[in-house]
Amino acid sequence: MKQYKIFVTGKQGIFDPAGETARHALDNLGYIGIENLRIDKYIQLDTSDTVTAEMVKEMCEKLLANPVIEDFLIEETVMTVAEEAAEQTKAEADE
């Protein structure tokens, strides 16, 4: 099993209404020193081992990000068998 973490972020200069609003709200709550706040998308993709980073890049270009307004960044984590087992146990424990 593989896990890809994909960050789909607004391009520089593209207005981020949600981020702006949250920043204002933090100001209003009295937090000082917030210079910038962006809210973007974080996509976690669990795939079989056959899915390559190249394929994920293609998925982003095609569907997961809109090149007109968004950039993306892909991080790959290949899980070892042990990790996978750990995830499994964790999931079960959470239940």
Partner: protein, 239 residues
């Protein structure tokens, strides 16, 4: 083909579309023929114009219009548009058109982060759009209803839109003027409410003209958006 009723509109139904019936109703009310096109159909022959209706195709999940854009019908719509035939995208349909790159730019979340359903004033601009045939400066009163109608594009694109007269409708004040901070309730760049492609046959707009065609709530202001295209559609069809 001289009579209005000989013109046939196709209205696409994507999963999650919810204004396709309103569009068909409005078009029929205006005397056209109108029929539904299923998103998996690929035959657009026989339609003189295609409407991508409002709604929440695929729930507006991921990004509005992003998934619908890959419907089989959209590949055909691209070819249809490129051949110069008339295509209009209303609200979600506009979002689909930008995702499909038939129109430039994108539509993001409203500035105030709230869904907005209200009447707006729209000023008709001098444009190459085949769908609107009204003197520049005319003010229309048509409702909007969307969460993501905040038009955005880069500066170069904006300059291009302005230069090529592709900006068709702008949000404005009741007298047609613009406020200095902008008159768009959703924060749209340059108050843009509707744009067309360079050829003028593909038109995308956030407001819903189909809701104000038969006078149910007292207004028929939206009719003009569907009536001007008849002449052009006839020409292209060569009929």
């Amino acid at each position: 083909m001289s009579r209005v009723e000989d013109l046939r509109f196709g209205v696409v139904t994507f999963p999650g579309s919810n204004c396709e019936q309103d569009a068909v109703h409005a078009l029929r009310h205006l005397g056209y023929q109108a029929d539904y096109i299923w998103h998996q159909d690929t035959d657009l022959n026989g339609f003189d114009a295609v409407v991508l209706p409002g709604g929440f195709s695929y729930g507006d999940y991921l990004r509005c219009g992003a998934v619908a854009r890959f419907s089989p019908v959209m590949a055909e719509v691209v070819g249809y548009a490129e051949s110069g035939r008339p295509v209009i995208g209303i609200c979600n349909g506009f979002q689909v058109l930008t995702e499909a790159h038939l129109l430039p730019g994108a539509l993001i979340r409203n500035k105030g982060l709230k869904f907005l359903c209200q009447n707006v004033h729209l000023r008709v601009e001098e444009s190459v759009c085949k769908w609107v045939d009204l003197p520049a400066g005319t003010v229309l009163d048509i409702p909007i209803s969307h969460n993501e109608g905040n038009y955005i594009c880069d500066e170069e694109t904006l300059a291009g839109l302005q230069e090529n007269a592709q900006i068709v409708l702008r949000y404005c004040e009741p007298d047609g003027s613009r406020l200095s901070g902008g008159s768009a309730p959703n924060g749209a760049l340059d108050d843009i409410a509707g744009i067309c492609n360079q050829r003028g046959n593909v038109f995308g707009l956030m407001p819903h003209p189909e809701r104000v065609t038969d006078g149910v709530s007292g207004s028929k202001a939206g009719s003009v958006v569907f009536t001007a295209i008849a002449t052009y559609a006839r020409e292209v069809a060569g009929r």
